[in-house]
Symmetry: C2
């Protein structure tokens, strides 16, 4: 695959950051990277100002990032990254299904499971664009860190290493490193479930319960991630890697994570509806919580932290009741 | 074991915090808790002021914490906690070997491996006080969080659950919860190795490499902890629990950790010798790094992060060289 032509669907902070690094990676090949956004005005403004001030301020885009609102611009792309919120991926892929060329490598970067169907993002791709090749990019990587050139490392999964390797090479730059994997399920479970757990850690931070409590919660969260992962076909080593534990730790530790911020604001006493209504961008965990909780119930797995987040979001219990319940679990063996 | 009499050896921040919670746990039984410190003046001052201002300021000790500098005061104790730095544990146990009663439950809270011998702390106990019963208490728990009554959870390991359960009950209070385990090796490996890895994360923070980089480093650190743990007889589920991953995450995330602070200051350009010479308390990881690195070499395990910390501490490479090397590892499968 010589000088692949790359497109990015979704011009939020993450999509813009991915377009920027892909464009840097493509410079030597002389290729451009398309950055597709729904709104023609926004696309024109990005091309005019060379920034995406609304979503990723203070970043000057490299010259070979070209914004467009025309789906057909991506028709020739060998690699297409999907960087829209998880719950919009089906609708976006429907829009692009007649455009993307057969065999195109579609790299999903949305983290979540579809409400209603509990489908993986790659499942949605198989439904809507069955002739495309599914890949998933996931790992601990704030858009800001990536565009500032701080060292970041993520996982790129495909159905085989042979498929993953050239795509990883086409998207890597020295400060943004893609490690390949063939565990598509594992990488997606990590990315989806960590968002729910980040809300829990945010609540603990918002309630000022201390760093020790948050660290204990992260360890217990990792155990829940593993239990859910096992029934969804994830490999243990993937869940313990960049896209699992790495991303879990990042989202559970930093107010740069929207899911953590949602939990933090809830912990400080604000209602989920009020916060979700007022924020820019999507807290994926708020949508994934009930999906994951339902999967756990179906498989008879205990996931007390995820269940508590679901219950708080749905108004079935208060934060204080949930904390009380988690703390009052009987003193027993840890495992 | 009715109203066990508890003693704590070592009146640093952690020993003092443990004496405080043990005393609260013992109040109903009407028992006191001995807090032993080497210096008779310090013991007298604690008893007079009801605080340990030098090591754990602003904490009023409960009335049944009694400081002493007489080893013989602990002769009748059923439970004795060792809260001195890891590299002093042998010398302390030598001093107490003729004092502690046979069958006493000795709960080690020091986190490290002995330099020179690479011994576990329980190995030192077996050498010096063979008639005592070994236990290990370890987990994510800053002394400050524990004494402020914030919720904390740690692991208490013994040779059997039957031994661990009553000791856990004697030391628990509602906000400081002890989960029992019979994996003595696993709990010790986690506590020892995380201190080395916390130095690495501190360096990344000191160099301002970003939260994404630190999260990736924590995930890779966890993989190294697992590799080392496996050859030292630790169980995977212990390494993924409170005393492994939980404590790793805490120490790798917070300037409240002395090991993290050591790394942070190194990352900012200060020399390890200068920092270690000027700080209060011990950065255990600085002593454990070479022990762990040697174990890895002996077993032919790759632990690039631990090896880098060892090399930086020993002056064998600069921080920038180490970072460069870690970043330049070939792009390959993550596992």
């Amino acid at each position: 695959m010589l000088s692949p032509s790359v497109g990015v669907i979704g011009a939020g902070a993450w999509g813009t950051a991915l377009a920027q690094v892909a464009a840097k990676s493509q410079v030597a090949a002389g290729s451009s990277v398309w950055l597709w956004c729904r709104d023609p005005m926004a696309a024109a403004e990005i091309n005019r100002s060379r920034t995406n001030d609304a979503r990723l301020p203070d970043v000057r885009l490299v010259p070979n990032v070209v914004a467009t609102s025309e789906p057909s611009a991506l028709a020739a792309c060998d690699i297409v990254l999907i960087a829209t919120p998880a719950q919009t991926v089906r609708q976006v892929l429907k829009q692009f299904s007649s455009v993307l060329r057969p065999g195109a490598r579609v790299v999903i970067t949305a983290k979540g499971l579809e409400r209603g169907t509990a489908a993986f993002m790659t499942g949605i791709l198989a439904d809507e664009c069955p002739s495309c090749e599914p890949l998933v990019l996931s790992g601990p990587s704030f858009a800001d860190d990536v565009v500032r050139g701080l060292p970041t490392a993520v996982t790129l999964a495909a159905q085989s290493m042979e498929i993953a390797h050239p795509v990883a090479a086409a998207l890597s730059i020295p400060t943004f490193r893609l490690y390949v994997s063939d565990d598509l399920a594992g990488v997606q479970v990590g990315g989806a479930v960590k968002n729910v757990l980040a809300i829990a850690c945010g609540i603990v931070a918002g309630r000022k319960l201390g760093e020790s409590a948050r660290a204990a919660l992260i360890a217990r969260s990792f155990a829940e991630l593993n239990r859910i992962g096992r029934v969804l076909g994830a490999r243990g080593e993937t869940l313990g890697g960049l896209s699992g534990l790495g991303d879990l730790v990042l989202s559970c530790s930093s107010a740069q994570s929207r899911n953590f911020r949602l939990g933090q604001a809830m912990g400080e006493g604000r209602s989920p509806g009020e916060i979700l209504g007022s924020q820019r961008g999507t807290s994926e965990g708020a949508y994934t919580a009930s999906v994951v909780d339902t999967i756990a119930t179906k498989h008879a797995i205990e996931v007390p932290i995820i269940s508590a987040v679901r219950a708080i979001l749905d108004g079935d219990c208060t934060i204080d009741e949930a904390i009380e319940q988690l703390l009052q679990r009987p003193l027993k063996s840890e495992i």
